[in-house]
Symmetry: C2
């Protein structure tokens, strides 16, 4: 592979070799080759030194020329979520994904597209332009059209998220976090701590994603298994205010819950504000949990007990699945419960 990249680019009629670059930079030829092919393996100072030698000698292997030879763009496409800010996990996920792709010597191209079947035209553009070699999908929805469309065209992809409800039939390869399992674990932990009225607080339909239903299912199944009542309320909007109003209906009940499992951190922070407004103490009078371990979780006083999505593991798995070739498979990762003072669970 190294040999193929020793392009002798001429400057003023003189052929410049990789050996000359190495000599000028005072490094080995392998190091120059690494800078060209896998720069992430070379420390920044050495990279800058080698780049300076390449520049001064006029030795410039072109990625464009190389990609024409291999028919690979070296780029992975990723569609940004349509509603920025909808999930507080978007930002850490994108950062981890970019690093995971870069670790394999490729780069990430981000794009926007309409939701649903209309968005397929953008995927078709990128494929036809050979702008990317493969796609990472996220923000999957029930019956997501992208998976079947890409699979039928033989375009490599990996999906963060399932295409509920037909996950058994889901085309391609996916990784997801076991939201149901994490919420069941929260219920078990709260029950062990003495709670027997554990309510769920989610989003009112239209639910943004299948993930929300999955979390609720985990809570509900575990409550049934333990013989606990199923109290639930739904926020009209993904906001603290919406969650506070929904929490108020729970706390006004004749038999109010002593713990509230919220489907997301923002909702949980809204629940905490309502609990405090009633001069009740979160983590004492009412235990509250969230989901995502976002910046909000460490932002509220004493911290929010929540479920951390393992961003590095998710994105490393995505990259592995991307290169696994055609087929169907799924990887379900555990969310990790992080206990803080809003619900001091003994984990």
């Amino acid at each position: 592979m190294t040999g193929g990249l020793e392009w002798a680019v001429t400057t003023d009629g003189q052929a410049v070799t990789l050996r000359q670059v190495a000599a000028q930079a005072g490094v080995s030829r392998q190091t120059v080759s690494n800078v060209l092919n896998a720069p992430e393996r070379v420390d920044p100072a050495t990279r800058l030194k080698v780049r300076a030698a390449i520049e001064s000698l006029g030795y410039q292997p072109s990625r464009t020329a190389r990609s024409l030879a291999t028919r690979q763009a070296g780029l992975i496409g990723y569609c940004l979520a349509r509603h920025p800010g909808r999930s507080l996990f978007t930002d850490p996920f994108l950062h981890a994904l970019t690093e995971a792709i870069e670790a394999t010597g490729r780069r990430l191209l981000v794009f926007t597209a309409p939701e649903g079947a209309e968005g397929l035209a953008t995927y078709a553009d990128l494929i036809a332009q050979r702008a990317v070699d493969a796609f990472i999908l996220s923000d999957t929805v029930d019956g997501d059209p992208r998976h079947g469309w890409l699979a039928s065209r033989g375009v490599p992809f990996a999906s963060f998220g399932r295409t509920w409800p037909e996950q058994g039939e889901q085309p391609g390869r996916w990784v997801d976090v076991d939201g149901a399992g994490a919420c069941a674990e929260l219920v078990r932990g709260l029950h062990s701590a003495g709670h027997d009225r554990i309510a769920f607080l989610g989003w009112r339909d239209p639910v943004p994603v299948g993930a929300a239903k999955d979390r609720q299912r985990g809570w509900r199944d575990e409550c049934r298994r333990l013989g606990l009542p199923e109290q639930a309320a739904y926020a009209d909007s993904d906001s603290m205010e919406g969650a506070a109003h929904a929490a108020a209906t729970l706390l006004d009940a004749a038999q109010p819950p002593t713990a509230i499992v919220a489907a997301g951190d923002l909702l949980a922070v809204g629940v905490i504000s309502e609990v405090r407004r009633r001069e009740l103490r979160p983590g004492h009078d009412i235990w509250v949990t969230g989901f995502d371990d976002s910046l909000l979780a460490t932002s509220v006083e004493g911290g929010l007990t929540t479920v951390r999505q393992p961003a590095a593991e998710i994105t490393a798995t995505l990259v592995r699945l991307l290169d696994a070739g055609p087929g169907r498979s799924g990887v379900l990762l555990d969310g990790r419960i992080v206990s803080r003072s809003s619900a001091p669970l003994d984990l």
Copy 2:
């Protein structure tokens, strides 16, 4: 330009022309050309139809081949902020930037890099690999090394943000939001509403970015101009809890402020929680303002008065500056004050 793209790709020995693709898809040749060169101008349904015709006929103009001819990657590079979640504006900014770049027929490549001079090696890699044609910079810091480094190499770039403190000498072209102006306007509005003890609540050093100092400067200068006392407190961390503690020191003063201008929305939400904890009413007893108009601003009860950064205008300006050629220039955009119940300003 259209002519140059009528690549006749052969399938089974037969030359396929753009005319045949147009006939098969039942559209004009111009429409096929638009799908190839400026797909964003063609509606998704037509694009899918044309793509299907291209696929079935085996007509595939390659972006890679085209980019070799023009020596342009058609990609703009953008480094993701090192600390995801640090700013709640990151996510809407990236979305708007991607759309603005796409509107010009180019795509956005995102990458990660170490902070400071070490990160230049990654920029050097991308330039040497001809992976991108230009860069968009953001998260600028005092004396940011990237601007001078890129300018000295003749690499096109545009910066969202100034390289304080030497902004007059800043290499290249930049756009920024006038944080000082917006905070001064907040002080004037609060003063008109009858407040004469208007405190500032910022982040303790090391201040994350020059933008934070800029906002404080606007508040301070306007307080001085109006002859108001300068009360300020600083959060130890970018968290609601840190802000609540800092707000407590302000509210415990012999002459507590009646209004608090916070440097960011997350800080403002922390201030509100402390105000509520003291059974004071935000927007009545204590007026509170934030900065960013993030998802938090519409999330707290009654809403947070804050400063909206005009994402679409910022990113459209960045793209314009990117194509303006070498030179130095700056564009300072106004932030727009959005009045909600935490500080019911009469704008």
